[in-house]
């Protein structure tokens, strides 16, 4: 039962959608699919990664992205070297305390980590458990939270929630640094259910009040979590139909045990990896929810299944997501094996609407259509102009022209072909192709190689993944 681009979500059988995809004559394991996986599961890929992915086949390719334990010792060695290097950068950045620098450090990880899906998932959780440095201010707390998110990004969802509930940056961001029994603070209690675990409609206002009482005595003092037992409300609390709740921790367990929880979390992952629209029904998510529960809420298992699914690799998912600013920027950089001034790159994301460590509010980035408006679109084009105009931007260590030649590309037309193939997910109709070629015409100088990319940056299709 093939799924093609015209199939609506309602027409797709959920069981088939999430089954493991296998190559077939009609649907071979090809470059387009490797690119798709690297776009969704990572931050794009350069020619070498594409070639490796083709050779590896789908399962191994996904294992590489996820840095699976079954991988070779070679990967373990790479990870060790990389972590040492990234750790050294982090140490220097933390000493300075500059949050913009911290964003540059993270970009370095996204660009160079041998486990790119881990970074992508950390970004996902950063948007899920959104915490903004504008309010937290302290870069050390932002760093600690980021480390926590990464540590659990592909792990047990419940452990992550327990940890984040005591995270200093999170509680400061939600004005929940104090929570006394006389005035239970409802902020964190509400967001835990609405935004982090269950979604609206799966709890009542009364539950919010009761959960807030469970968290009384949870405080942040001198940037550290502490439990002030004298401020804990010892009275009987009834949360989501349960009444023997001994502590804040057991209250979190009650929330996590709700039937709605796996659907909410898995639904968000599907939106993140597969499609912005439409929202998947509970029934459609059912197979993934089963996996989630059966694996003891292992995020890795769900992500693995999504990436290797028929829905993903039948190419139905192509063009169903708007690239986030981070994806847009890094995919351009990575596809051309570029290196750039990362401090500047971090700042350049701001006008595009996704400054790392500065989500717009506790709901995180809305994503999808919300990424797009006049000012962010102008920003996306200007980003390319700025990136190419920066003398620190190099391509595999050299000039763009040398890099292009090294790929065996010898004409502007071939270069445009390469660019559309590498950066544009959905096919460009001939009429637009002509327009793009026209935009390049008359540019024969050394900068001629940048013109096609700049021209492409103003084509709507580049914004779809």
């Amino acid at each position: 039962m093939p799924i093609d681009a015209k199939t609506t979500l309602a027409e797709i059988d959920p069981a088939f959608a999430w089954q493991k995809w296998s190559p077939a004559d009609q649907e071979p394991w090809d470059e387009q699919r490797v690119r798709l996986l690297y776009r969704r599961g990572a931050f794009g890929a350069g020619p070498k990664e594409i070639a490796r992915g083709l050779k590896e086949g789908p399962e191994q390719c996904i294992a590489t992205l996820l840095g699976e334990e079954s991988q070779s010792t070679e990967l373990a060695r790479q990870v060790e070297v990389f972590e040492k290097e990234s750790g050294a950068i982090a140490a220097a950045v933390r000493a300075g305390g500059d949050i913009d620098r911290l964003a540059a450090w993270w970009l370095h990880r996204m660009l160079h980590s041998p486990q790119p899906t881990l970074e992508k998932m950390t970004l996902f959780w950063h948007g899920h458990f959104a915490t903004g440095a504008d309010k937290v201010v302290d870069s050390e707390l932002m760093y600690e939270q980021n480390r926590w998110l990464r540590q659990h990004a592909l792990g047990d969802f419940r452990a992550m929630v327990h940890g984040i509930s005591k995270d200093a940056a999170m509680l400061l961001y939600l004005d929940s640094a104090t929570n006394r029994k006389a005035h239970p603070n409802e902020n964190y209690a509400r967001e835990l259910m609405e935004l982090f675990c269950l979604g609206e409609g799966n709890y009542t206002e009364k539950d919010v009040q009761e959960l807030a009482r469970c968290f009384t005595g949870w405080e942040i003092r001198r940037k550290l979590f502490r439990f002030n037992e004298y401020q804990h409300d010892e009275g009987v609390k009834t949360l989501l139909g349960r009444s023997e709740i001994e502590s804040g921790e057991s209250a979190i367990d009650v929330v996590l045990a709700q039937e709605a929880m796996p659907y909410f979390v898995v639904g968000k992952l599907v939106k993140f990896f597969v499609m912005d629209e439409p929202q998947a029904s509970r029934q459609f998510l059912e197979p993934l929810v089963k996996t989630f529960i059966a694996s003891d809420y292992s995020i890795r298992h769900v992500v693995h299944q999504i990436l290797l699914s028929n829905l993903m690799l039948s190419l139905w998912s192509v063009g169903r997501k708007v690239r986030s600013p981070v994806e847009y920027a890094l995919e351009i950089v990575r596809s051309m094996e570029a290196t750039a001034n990362l401090d500047r790159l971090a700042k350049m994301l701001r006008p595009l609407g996704q400054a790392l460590f500065y989500p717009p509010n506790v709901k995180g980035w809305d994503g999808g259509r919300a990424w797009i408006n006049s000012s962010t679109l102008i920003g996306r084009s200007n980003f390319v102009v700025d990136l190419l105009g920066d003398t620190n931007t190099r391509f595999a260590g050299g000039s763009l022209e040398n890099w292009i030649r090294a790929q065996g590309i010898d004409s502007k037309e071939a270069w445009m072909e390469w660019l559309t193939k590498s950066l544009v997910a959905v096919p460009i109709p001939d009429i637009e192709r002509d327009a793009l070629q026209k935009g390049m015409a008359g540019r024969t100088n050394a900068n001629g190689w940048t013109a096609p990319l700049i021209s492409l940056s103003q084509n709507p299709r580049i914004h779809l993944s």
Binding site: E186, N187, E191, P360, D366, N373, L377, V385, V426, N459
Partner: protein
């Protein structure tokens, strides 16, 4: 089609046809508003520009009861003398730095709402500013701002420009925050200008944006969603907006008197975005430095001059473009300052203070009474107009929207009484 009408509008502005002509009758007003709509692009008929004076503006030395004996006594060193004030009525005068706004005042296009504040005033900058932004005293709910909530209520899928724009390099003010609403911060006009203009130049030559978007639709996402169609129309809109902005920028600024101060630059950016016909309805700018604890006289005079010069230049620019009835500037600060000056020739955090409106013709130049110096609240002026009444008046009377949800309360009665707009 749109481009042609825009050119007409610009030409009218350039020849001075649309300079500040008082609008006597309803029919002309109607015509003016129709002209604005016909000027095409996505520009809303009513635009709101909010100017935030951060740090707590000394309202008492801005609108000065210079003849009041108690004022003279409370401000031995900082008082503005009768010889210096710009007197207007009721023994009140403006700080001399407001000179540039005098012509707006005389034209009935500048209005003062006196004694604005809220009950049990909070004297912390951050908390009071949060109260003004969120309309909530205690954050029993993760925060959002009143403008953010307003913008979320009028979100329109056809609208391709950001509904609100914050001009400035500082963090996005809470007032503009709401889930699902993206308000960009523009550090400079360059952020709205395409660095590579060859495509918009092409559009200009072809007379259309059809180089993109009009091509055959691909089959992506058909039935479920049309993301491709969405990014295509959005891109056209962005390129058109950028083209209009380039045109607006290429018309020399005849008034040319935007001061080179920070606020002057910001309001200049706002004026250009408005003239470029952006679909944005609310603009937000701030001027910091009003926390004048020491040696207030010089710094306050300088800040007020920056503010009044920038606002009056902005108003003139709007008048020149015939938009004087379409753009409202509202100025506020998180609190006023204490009545008595301190020992460092400064003033400390206070409570009630005036708000200022500029732009269209106002029915009453002076709204409310000057707070009495006779009856103080712990040394501070007492408010008698709730700030949310003013917000409600702006939302209902200017923006023509419902204020209940935006303000999380019913302030319509108070708003009604203020009669801020015609």
């Amino acid at each position: 089609m749109e481009r042609r009408t825009f050119t007409l509008g610009a030409a009218a502005a350039a020849t001075g046809l649309a300079l500040d002509i008082p609008v006597p009758g309803g029919w002309m007003k109607a015509l003016a508003s129709e002209l604005t709509v016909a000027r095409g692009d996505g520009r809303p008929n009513r635009i709101l520009v909010v100017v935030q004076l951060s740090g707590g503006n000394d309202g008492l030395n801005t609108v000065v009861p210079y003849r009041d004996e108690r004022y003279v006594q409370a401000r031995p060193k900082l008082k503005i003398n009768a010889s210096e004030v710009i007197p207007f009525q009721n023994d009140l005068g403006f700080h001399p730095s407001l000179r540039s706004l005098e012509s707006q005042w005389e034209a009935g296009r500048f209005s003062v709402v006196q004694g604005v504040g809220y009950a049990s005033p909070n004297r912390s900058h951050f908390e009071s500013m949060d109260i003004w932004h969120s309309c909530h005293r205690k954050q029993d709910r993760t925060q959002s701002g009143w403008i953010g909530r307003y913008l979320s209520g009028c979100s329109d899928s056809e609208q391709k420009d950001a509904p609100g724009v914050h001009v400035g390099a500082e963090p996005l003010p809470l007032a503009l925050v709401e889930r699902g609403v993206q308000v960009p911060s523009l550090a400079s006009i360059e952020q709205m200008r395409l660095k590579s203009k060859s495509k918009v130049m092409q559009m200009e030559e072809d007379g259309t944006a059809s180089a993109i978007g009009s091509a055959e639709k691909s089959s992506v996402g058909e039935g479920d969603s049309d993301l491709l169609g969405f990014v295509e129309t959005s891109t056209s809109a962005a390129l058109e907006a950028s083209l209009r902005l380039e045109k607006a920028l290429s018309v020399p600024d005849e008034t040319g008197d935007f001061p080179s101060s920070g606020l002057g630059e910001k309001l200049k950016v706002v004026s250009r975005l408005i003239l470029a016909g952006l679909g944005t309805q609310v603009y937000y700018v701030t001027l910091d430095g009003f926390d004048t604890h020491a040696k207030q006289a010089a710094v306050h005079a300088s800040l007020l001059r920056q503010w009044s010069d920038a606002v009056s230049a902005f108003c003139k620019r709007m008048q020149q473009a015939g938009l004087q009835e379409n753009v409202l500037v509202v100025t506020f600060s998180e609190f006023g300052r204490r009545v008595s000056e301190n020992a460092s020739q400064g003033t400390d955090h206070g409570a009630a203070a005036p708000m200022f409106l500029a732009g269209p013709k106002f029915p009453a130049p002076l709204v409310g009474e000057h707070p009495s110096l006779n009856s103080l609240d712990d040394g501070d002026l007492k408010y008698h107009i709730d700030y949310r009444d003013v917000y409600a008046a702006v939302i209902e009377g200017w923006l023509g929207a419902a204020s209940l949800k935006v303000l999380d309360g019913d302030y319509r009665e108070g708003a009604e009484k203020l009669r801020l707009f015609g």
